[in-house]
């Protein structure tokens, strides 16, 4: 249903998008060629989106090896479902949705294992790119306390700059739950590291 929703959005008249695209769109020719089984064209699609997919997976899983596998799985699933993807915008939404759900599932599998719930802080702090190690550490501490869905909300909000409505649709959760996750996470950060708000 969400696929259809995205399809409908893609077909709708273009609304002004306040989020500037970080990458140029994938060529429709590549998408069409990949649908016919052209693996060179599919490789170009993967190369184009791998940063996005891997980053989402890494920040939700908190572990590079898991993130690599989850991201690869998402692309393999994409290969079998290219017919369901209308265009580059739809492809981007499809990938974010798929990799988010897969990463949350991977995190749940780890949480069910007796040897420990969250990934070590060293692993969690690695995904963050900041000159300030304090922020990286505070983020790592925060993420270590969050369950998968809450991590995904934070990542989609601040990595992909998606609004709560889009995040709710992607993660199949009510908008109010998304807003609640965001509010609680930001409150926690402000409490745990108040200097972040006013630091340089």
């Amino acid at each position: 249903m969400v696929l259809l929703d995205f399809q409908a959005r893609a077909d709708a008249p273009a609304a002004p998008d306040r989020r500037a695209p970080r990458l140029p769109a994938v060529s429709p020719v590549d998408l069409a060629a990949a649908r016919t089984g052209d693996r060179t064209a599919f490789a170009r699609l993967v190369r184009h989106h791998q940063g996005l997919v891997f980053s989402v997976a890494l920040r939700i899983c908190g572990h590079r090896a898991d993130a690599e596998e989850v991201a690869q799985d998402a692309f393999l699933q994409l290969y079998g479902q290219l017919d369901a993807v209308a265009d580059d915008r739809h492809l981007r939404h499809w990938l974010i949705r798929t990799v988010s759900h897969r990463a949350i599932d991977r995190l749940r599998q780890h949480e069910r294992r007796p040897q420990g719930s969250a990934a070590p802080l060293e692993a969690l702090s690695a995904p963050f790119v900041d000159d300030d190690p304090l922020l990286a550490r505070a983020l790592a501490d925060l993420l270590a306390t969050l369950a998968g869905p809450a991590r995904a909300v934070l990542v989609l909000r601040f990595q992909e700059d998606l609004d709560p409505t889009d995040i709710a649709a992607l993660l199949d959760m009510p908008v109010n739950t998304v807003k609640s996750h965001l509010r609680r996470s930001l409150e926690w950060l402000r409490t745990a590291a108040p200097e972040l708000e006013h630091g340089s």
Binding site: R39, A43, F54, S55, E68, L76, Y79, Q159, G199, S200
Partner: protein, 117 residues
């Protein structure tokens, strides 16, 4: 800098590492047959389903048509046989009637001769 802006900066996309695409394609080669292409498009599946339904509908219609034609033929044959039987019966009754009339006439003549003598 605002906290949310710092979060956005801290969560910039990171590199997937060298060879990520090659590893995906390698898994594709091992986990998917080379001849395999992505699944049929939706319209093709619908077209196939519609064709099957149409073929089934046409088959059922043809079967019904043939069945009805056979029933009509059987009815016509029965009607023809009944009419022939009716004609034969009428003919037989006619012959019987004439024979009886002859017998009656002869008896009448014999009676008249006996009374006259």
């Amino acid at each position: 800098m605002d906290l949310e802006d710092r979060l956005r900066r801290a969560m910039r996309p990171v590199d997937a590492g060298d060879g990520f695409t090659d590893r995906v394609i390698a898994r594709l080669d091992t986990e998917t047959p080379k001849s395999a292409v992505p699944s049929r498009s939706t319209w093709a599946r619908w077209a196939l389903a519609a064709s099957v339904l149409l073929a089934v509908a046409l088959g059922v219609d043809a079967w019904r048509d043939q069945h009805a034609r056979q029933a009509l033929t059987a009815q016509a044959e029965l009607r023809t046989r009944n009419e022939a039987a009716g004609r034969q019966l009428a003919w037989a009754l006619d012959i019987t009637s004439r024979q009886l009339e002859n017998v009656h006439r002869r008896l009448d003549q014999d009676t008249r001769k006996e009374t006259g003598s």
